[in-house]
Amino acid sequence: MKASLNARTIIVALVVAGLLLLPVYTTLSGNMFGLTLFTRIIIYAQAAASLNLIMGYGGMMSFGHAAYLGIGGYAVGILAHEGIGSGFIQWPVALAASALFALVIGALSLRTRGVYFIMITLAFAQMAYYVASGLARYGGDDGLTIYKRSDFGGLIDLSNRVQFYYLCLFCLFGGIYLIWRIVNSRFGMVVQGLRSNERRMQAIGFPVNRYKLVCFVISGTICGLAGALLANNTDFVSPATMYWTRSGDLMVMVILGGMGSLFGPVLGTIAFLLLEEALSQFTEYWALIMGPLLLLIVLFARGGIDGMLGRARRG
């Protein structure tokens, strides 16, 4: 990767700097709304980045990624409801539950290809949605209110908005760093090879399904962490977190930003959620503009925002 001073590097550097300095601005100006909005954006950016790992690099079009957001969130919510408030227990459980779910549905889904894969991941996510709706003890359809955010002892206070913001940002950058390391490792090369020609990779002698499954589980786990953050951010988790339109939103964020580009999903998420926010300030019927805008982006701006910033670069 050559660090030349092109448009992409400048934009990414500006966005990173902006995200790092945002709390300074909001604290000085007293505009806490911006901080709340961007905390949400950062959490979704992490989910989108995890989806990008399998979609952009691995060629696995998962239409059920919101399930991990819900599972991570419910792990935190259910443990909090049962009186286990420690983040040192809640978060590992959230990660383990997401990983386990990804392992099971991945092992089954990866037997299929193409559109069938899109649909079977969707079906599993819908199952998770209905299971959550059936959890009468934990709110069922109405969702579960979390009265106390995860407790990390004296280490970090999640109720402090600035601290929570930086924690989310740390998780996002940590996730992207991890993805960057994965993509440029031998393992990542194999996964990218699978995307371009699976049969050839198999002929060379790689156990393709095992590679795909591991990639799928890593992606689900990162998204599960985003789910734990999201539940803490809203103090609430409900089946709606896992509804299929939410998975669609995540896909849109990735494609809007540019699939298979490291920072693309972050840019895509910022663009999508800011646009949604701006349009909803302007009119109640924001989707009336957002919908055709998506259509135009697909028609005329292939490769997403990342594609507009010059020729696609790998890794």
Binding site: M61, F63, L108, S109, R111, T112, R113, G114, V115, Y116, I118, M119, I120, L122, A123, F124, Q126, M127, Y130, V131, S133, G134, A136, G140, W244, T245, G248, M251, V252, I255, M259, Y285, W286, A287, L288, M290, G291, P292, L293, L294, L295, I297, V298, L299, R302
Partner: protein, 305 residues
């Protein structure tokens, strides 16, 4: 016994309705290789058009016919303005673009008809119970749905299997380039197929409208069911869609009706009443997962030589 017959017919009726929706989807998908998430929006538009036209004309049948025409035109317009530019793209672009269309249609409906749902009242001659067996009555309207849907299915079968257009449609499903090379106007064919699919979705929507409320987002839940059906049935196969639709309609309806009682036999009554709704909603997805694991290309894969 009475309940079993009634639920069985309800399952058949729901399955046939799902078939109308799934047939359009599988035609568009199998022939044009186009993933249309906005199919559910056309279903919703069919219901809204019907509610509006029936209120205007004061005649149920006339209103429904007008609504059907309006959905057909809307489908053709949609294909002409936007979707035909997407055929050469990959599935992901289709998903993104039609996801945008769903957002658009939902808010357009909210703007035009308001956020509250509409009701589509039935004319008196359709509300009388109909005696199907000695002592067994069934709502005439649900029976009418079964009859209309069966007729449409038969018509669709005749069109696809016995006419020149149908022959072209089948040829398009198995080899697109070849029928283009043979001098067939493939663009026109695609527009026709898309319009047909839209009309079928609209028909399903307007027939369902008097049973449920006409509301925003009504197309989204049922769209997922339609996708499940075409995946189970094998993409592009009308026969597969028909069988899978009946199957899914039956499982869903019978599951909702009888699963709570069945669970009560093994679980405590409280546990059963909480588990049953979730479990019966999951049944279909479970079925699809099993089918895909066992036969990754669906039960009746089409277009295979």
């Amino acid at each position: 016994m009475l309940l079993v017959v009634e639920q069985f017919l309800n399952g058949l009726q729901f399955g046939l309705l799902l078939f109308l929706l799934a047939a359009g989807l599988t035609l568009v998908f199998g022939i044009m290789d186009f993933v249309n998430l906005a199919h559910g929006s056309l279903y919703m538009m069919g219901a809204y058009f019907a509610a509006t036209f029936v209120a205007w004309t004061g005649n149920f049948v006339l209103g429904c016919v007008l609504a059907l025409g309006a959905t057909l035109l809307l489908g053709i317009l949609l294909e002409f303005v936007a979707l035909r530019h997407l055929y050469n793209r990959d599935h992901l672009d289709h998903v993104l673009a039609t996801f945008g269309l769903i957002l658009f249609f939902n808010d357009a409906v909210r703007l035009i008809w308001g956020p509250a749902g509409l009701a589509l009242p039935l004319p008196p001659w359709l509300t009388v119970p109909f005696q199907i067996m000695p002592g067994v009555y069934y709502p005439a309207y649900r029976l009418a749905i079964i009859v209309v849907a069966l007729l449409v299915a038969l018509l669709l079968y005749l069109v696809v299997m016995r006419t020149r257009i149908g022959m072209l449609i089948r040829a398009g499903a198995s080899n697109r380039e070849m029928i283009g090379a043979l001098g067939i106007n493939i663009k026109l064919l695609y527009t026709l197929v898309f319009g047909l699919g839209a009309a079928l979705a609209g028909l399903a929507g307007l027939m369902q409208a008097p049973i449920l409320t006409v509301q925003i987002g009504m197309g989204e839940n049922i769209l997922i069911l339609a996708f499940v059906i075409i995946v189970i049935g094998g993409i592009g196969s009308i026969r597969g869609a028909f069988l899978a639709a009946i199957f899914v309609g039956m499982i869903d309806t019978l599951g909702r009706a009888f699963l709570p009682d069945l669970l009560r036999q093994v679980l405590s009554s409280a546990a059963a009443s909480t588990a049953a709704p979730a479990l019966s909603s999951m049944l279909i997805y479970l079925l699809m997962a099993i089918v895909l694991v066992v036969r990754p290309e669906g039960l009746f894969p089409a277009g295979r030589p």
